[in-house]
């Protein structure tokens, strides 16, 4: 996607000029939680037609979609790790509402909920917030997940992540925390050293399908995982958090299982795990740590 307007975004303004604080720029009044359309969207509801590439070989489509910013709290100096559990629970309800509403637009095929925390992953504002991209197509990595989960479902007659959850609980080598509804683990297939996946025990496709206890369980485990991260190096631990949910294109995704991925860019305090040539150009990740070692480290925090 090409979105040259995003070059104009403000970068880490002073706290007293934060555009996400109440009454400064984006939110005209005090708020508990809020959602607004991104001022610098990569996808817009009424896009202009793309310019002619000059060649039938070079195809393009209008970037029709919606980009939202999700305000977790009006408190500037906060985070998932520091917010009260009840505030995170409310956030889960907001995510569910956004997923349901955005999925109703006929041009929206995939609702992607995510958070970039820290300048190491390109966050330009430190006020606690996440984002939502309502895509007009299913992104390529999500398509790969769907393809593999569908193949497993066809071959085994079971859900891949349901089976992984059961095996990880049985083995107890990579779990870092569990509650009655979710597990958090360093996956066997971790790409980043401190990668953590949060997976519901019940077969759920998206956040809107969660019952109230599961929503509270998700809030609980997100708080615990981010608290462990912050405690790890006694710092505000940077991460990319992404939710993977059933697409919104009206098709049947019975085989798909909701999950959240945390991908931190650090391999140690002040040490970056770079997306270098091998990772970027071949999509083959070289992880310098074993998932079991990292799981043990995070579990003990």
């Amino acid at each position: 996607m090409i979105s040259s307007e995003r070059q104009e975004r403000p970068v880490l303004p002073r706290p007293d000029a934060c555009p996400l604080c109440p009454g400064v720029l984006e939110l005209e009044r005090d708020y508990d939680l809020a959602v607004f359309e991104n001022r610098f969207p990569a996808l817009v509801r009424e896009p202009a037609n793309p310019s002619d590439s000059g060649s039938p070989l070079l195809e393009s489509k209008a970037s029709k979609g919606i980009c939202e910013v999700v305000m977790y709290t009006s408190i500037h100096d906060s985070s998932l790790s520091r917010m009260p559990l009840s505030q995170i629970e409310k956030l889960v309800y907001v995510w569910a509402d956004r997923y349901k509403e955005l999925s109703q637009y006929p041009y929206v095929k995939y609702v992607f909920i995510f958070e970039n925390r820290g300048k190491e992953v390109g966050a330009t504002l430190s006020h606690p917030h996440g984002q939502i991209y309502a895509f007009p197509f299913i992104p390529i990595r999500m398509n790969l997940k769907l393809k593999n989960m569908k193949r497993y479902y066809s071959d085994k007659g079971a859900c891949l992540l349901c089976d992984i959850v059961n095996e990880e609980i049985r083995l107890d080598k990579r779990l870092i925390y569990c509650n009655d509804f979710f597990i958090a683990m360093v996956p066997y297939y971790a790409r980043f050293p401190y990668e953590v996946h949060v997976i519901p025990v019940r077969h759920i496709g998206n956040v809107a399908e969660m019952n109230p206890d599961e929503k509270k369980g998700l809030a609980d485990i997100l708080k615990v995982v981010t608290m462990k991260y912050d405690k790890l190096f006694d710092m505000e631990f940077p991460y990319m958090m992404a939710m993977f949910q059933t697409p919104s294109d009206g098709k049947d995704y019975e085989y798909f299982h909701f999950h959240v991925e945390f991908c931190p860019p650090l391999r140690g305090k002040n040490k970056i795990k770079w997306m270098a040539s091998v990772e970027t150009e071949t999509w083959q990740f070289i992880n310098p740590s074993t998932p079991e070692e990292i799981a043990d480290e995070l579990k003990r925090l």
């Binding site: 508990d32 906060s78 009840s86 959850v165 025990v201 369980g217 615990v224």
Partner: protein, 55 residues
Amino acid sequence: MRLIKVKVVKEDGRYVYYYEVEKGDEDAGTTSESNDGRMGDDIIRTSRKAGSSKA
């Protein structure tokens, strides 16, 4: 928990949704919980030892 949302349309056409807990449904309110980064009792009560669950 039930949230209510109020929609406001800005001058530039962008929307804002303000969310808050519906009146009379504040039992999950924030007043009794710590916000100091410590793990609260409510978390400890819902947690269990990793590996002790049955999926």
